[in-house]
């Protein structure tokens, strides 16, 4: 496959490929930014345009669009506390506080850099790992998925600011909400109150729009201030600081890129999980975790590195097995079939140049969008200085429209509104929204894989498999370790 490396590069540099790259990247960026629209939508939009196009150009266009979504979603996460796509949710936790402190430029700079380098990392791993990726994909089964979900859920304990009790209640709420709908495991339909809409449970996109955009906009509107509370903290310096921060915390960056790539390789876990895991890891592994949630730049670097490297990882099962590693990949697979390609084991042998163009575009698109982000940050940052009374109504309209546009269902908009009110109330009463979000996202996966494991192997299934057991131990350590350390520190302080 590697002999096609140079010819594939030539293909990418030949006009009009670069034009398509730019077009695709810009479009993907736009869809990433708009809450409610994301990967599947932009691909669906571009597909008809690719009819009759040369295969390579079509790939450049499509993959270019896919590559900029992850970073695109982070921009509103940082600026208005609304993830443009669910996979950027964790970026809100520290990105928005940074914007509030007038450091939006720094956050965007860090996000852009982490995203870009993370994507390159993921692509590198993809290229190296393809020969052995098979074993990684096949090593993960139901118990391992459960342990991953459990690990993600344990992040709640680590990042719950304020009352842990309330954090747990919020988690319970998220978990019980995740049981709504048809459960394939038990064959029963729960809590749908007779509607078809709730059959698939609470849909993530409108719930996220509600929890983040609407909830935040209500707060903003009532607050009558601006998003950025502190004076303008220096534009260029801010961005540069952000870029440098990634290198200052390079170890963290690498670890989170690894997490992202690995989780991306495992099909079906999804982007929304990756960024929580990375964030949780960053918080729990640091010596001074109190800063997280208050504007710690590491809280931006971690999820951003992970959600970009996961794209590279997601290509592994997609290309090796023809099994999509994520939702975007599923759409992309469909696109490839319509283009006449046949993703799967044969593609790497029959059409290696297509695979390579794909990888190159992924990298190039990410670099491009990171540059756009860095140079455009100055303009974007100005948003945080708009009076909230003018900004909030627009966010309301944008958020609710985003919820509506996904499927033209009013029910989605209503869900967004309900979750918006819930989010605002939770904020007022100090219940952790993060807990609800994580529980809602992971609840379904955890329950399903729990039942699947029990059906096949019983309880021992979780502990006799090495990876599953290992993940369990790590999760327990993640929960216990910070607690132990704080106790030791406290004891250390007491001694004279």
């Amino acid at each position: 496959m590697y002999e096609a490396a140079l010819p594939a590069l030539m293909v990418m540099l030949a006009w009009p490929a670069p034009l398509y790259l730019v077009l695709g990247t810009l479009l993907g960026l736009l869809f990433g930014i708009l809450p409610g629209l994301g990967g599947p939508q932009v691909l669906a939009l571009l597909l008809p345009i690719t009819y009759g196009m040369e295969t390579h150009l079509a790939i450049v266009l499509l993959v270019g669009a896919m590559s900029s979504i992850a970073f695109g979603g982070s921009i509103p996460a940082i600026l208005i506390n609304t993830p443009g796509t669910p996979q950027s949710a964790a970026t809100c936790f520290d990105g928005f506080p940074l914007a509030q402190q007038g450091k939006a430029g720094m956050a965007i700079g860090a996000a852009a850099t982490a995203s870009c380098l993370g994507a390159i990392f993921g692509a590198l791993i993809l290229t190296i790992l393809l020969p052995v990726g098979r074993y990684v994909v096949l090593a993960f089964s139901y118990p391992e998925y459960f342990m991953l979900a459990l690990m993600g859920l344990s992040v709640i304990a680590v990042v719950s600011k304020g009352s842990l009790w309330k954090g747990l209640i919020a988690a319970c709420l998220g978990l019980i909400l995740s049981t709504i709908g048809y459960d394939p495991v038990t064959g029963s339909v729960r809590f749908t109150f007779g509607t078809d809409y709730l059959w698939d449970g609470i849909r993530l996109v409108p719930a996220f729009i509600g929890l983040f955009a609407i909830g935040e906009a209500i707060d903003l509107f009532l607050g009558r201030g601006k998003i950025a509370q502190s004076p303008y903290a220096g534009r260029i310096g801010g961005i540069g600081k952000g870029i440098k921060a990634v290198f200052n915390h390079f170890g963290l960056f690498i670890r989170c890129s690894v997490i992202g790539t690995l989780v991306g390789i495992i099909p079906g876990v999804g982007g929304a999980v990756t960024n929580f895991l990375a964030y949780g890891h960053a918080a729990q592994a640091s010596k001074n975790p109190e800063g997280f949630g208050r504007g710690d730049i590491r809280g931006v670097i971690a999820p951003e590195a992970a959600n970009d490297s996961k794209d590279g990882g997601a290509l592994v099962p997609t290309l090796l097995f023809g099994i999509p590693g994520s939702l975007e990949m599923a759409v992309f697979l469909g696109a490839m079939i319509v283009l006449g390609l046949e993703p799967g084991p044969r593609m790497m042998m029959d059409r290696p140049e297509v695979v390579l163009v794909l990888i190159y575009t992924l990298v190039a698109g990410n670099i491009l969008v990171a540059l756009i982000g860095i140079f455009g940050a100055g303009v974007l940052v100005k948003l945080t200085y708009v009076p909230s009374t003018l900004l909030a109504p627009v966010i309301f309209a944008l958020g609710l429209m985003g919820a509506y546009l996904t499927h033209e269902l009013l029910a989605d908009v209503i869900i967004a509104l309900i979750f918006g009110v819930l989010a605002f109330a939770m904020k007022r009463f100090d219940f952790s929204r993060i807990a609800v979000v994580i529980a809602l996202v992971l609840g379904g996966l955890a329950q399903k894989t729990f039942h699947q494991t029990l059906l096949l192997w019983g309880y021992k299934g979780f502990f006799i498999r090495p990876i599953s057991l290992g993940l369990f131990i790590v999760t327990m350590a993640m929960i216990v370790f910070p607690y132990v350390r704080s106790k030791l520190l406290a004891r250390g302080e007491k001694r004279p």
Binding site: P40, G187, L327, A330, V331, E408, H451
Partner: protein
């Protein structure tokens, strides 16, 4: 951010309003212009998320539909997943029956909610336009499974299968096949065929039963799974050594374990418009270029006339009525 000069802003506001209203008027005009069909953009409802077989083949046929419809109208796809196809199907049913909204369906699976009394739609009332392809199912066993033949499966104390909810064709098909053949089956549910197939490749389950186009990569391109029989009247060319289920003694299962991709318009479509659509579909599904593309994507074209479709619907409903009790038993 102070508002600087009043006059300037006022001009800008007026200009914006003018632009907005003129665009508004223009788009309104477009709709009122022609009254013959098709007079505006057509919506094609796909009740699944983008990327699956239904979505892929719908996108493939659209250029051909446009070719054979008068005036080369614009056709936009609307993915509306949810509620096990019910949300998308209901949306199509409720649309104005003027020919500008159609939708793809999944038969016989979509008949199940109707038979169980859970559906608001009545498949008998839809205006059937055509069929895209006929999906052949294959049963494959994991390489790591202890069992390699039908005989072994029948004798086994228990066989685990990776299914996707028993209300789908794949799930239902597995249940009925197991019951007919006397196989003691344990069902391990998954949320999608991808997940279930992966479980088969890993060896966590013995049996997977899915469309050939989905399984091909694992049974032809690589040998991660071993096909044991196909649910069709003839053997599949690409796996010539795999017997049909009829050869193994269960021909009736061919009618049960199948999937068609028909397209319909809302009930009450005027006859003249229906005819335009049906002709367009017949020509499109018989178009040699389109059929070539389908075959390249491992699908079997199966154009169908409206009457055949109506008979098929009737047959599907009757079939599922027969198996209603078994299904409910597994639904608990």
């Amino acid at each position: 951010m102070a508002m600087v000069i009043d006059k300037k802003w006022l001009k800008f506001v007026c200009l914006s309003l003018v632009i907005i209203s003129s665009i508004w008027v223009l788009t309104a005009n477009e709709a009122a212009a022609k009254s013959e069909f098709p007079s505006k953009t057509i919506s094609y409802v796909i009740p699944t998320s983008p990327g699956g077989g239904f979505d892929t083949f719908s996108r493939m046929i659209i250029p051909y539909l446009r070719k054979y419809l008068p005036g080369n109208p614009n056709i936009i796809i609307k993915n509306l997943p949810g509620g096990e196809w019910k949300i998308g199907i209901n949306k199509m049913y409720r649309a104005k029956p003027d020919g500008h909204t159609i939708g793809i369906l999944n038969m016989p699976a979509n008949a199940l909610p109707q038979v169980l009394g859970e559906a608001k739609y009545d498949l008998r009332k839809a205006t059937w336009l055509g069929n895209i392809d006929d999906v052949t199912y294959v049963t494959a066993l994991s390489l790591k499974s202890k069992y390699k033949t039908l005989e072994a499966l029948k004798k086994a104390p228990v066989v685990t299968s990776g299914t996707v909810g028993l209300a789908s064709t794949a799930g239902l098909g597995t249940v009925l096949a197991a019951e007919r053949m006397g196989i003691k089956m344990k069902y391990i549910p998954h949320s999608g065929s991808t997940e279930a197939i992966l479980a088969g490749i890993r060896g966590d389950v013995d049996w997977v039963q899915y469309p050939f186009s989905t399984l091909k990569k694992s049974i032809v391109d690589s040998q991660d799974l071993i096909p044991v029989w196909v649910y069709s009247k003839k053997r599949i060319d690409q796996i010539p050594n795999v017997p049909t289920i009829a050869e193994l003694g269960y021909p009736e299962l061919v009618d049960v374990v199948k999937m068609l991709r028909p397209v319909a318009a809302p009930p009450g479509l005027p006859d003249d418009i229906a005819k335009i659509w049906q002709d367009a579909f017949w020509k499109a599904t018989n178009d040699p270029e389109f059929q070539k593309k389908q075959i390249a994507a491992n699908a079997s074209p199966l154009p169908m006339r409206p009457q055949e479709l109506e008979d098929m619907v009737e047959g599907a409903i009757k079939l599922l009525e027969q198996y209603k009790d078994i299904i409910l038993k597994h639904r608990k």
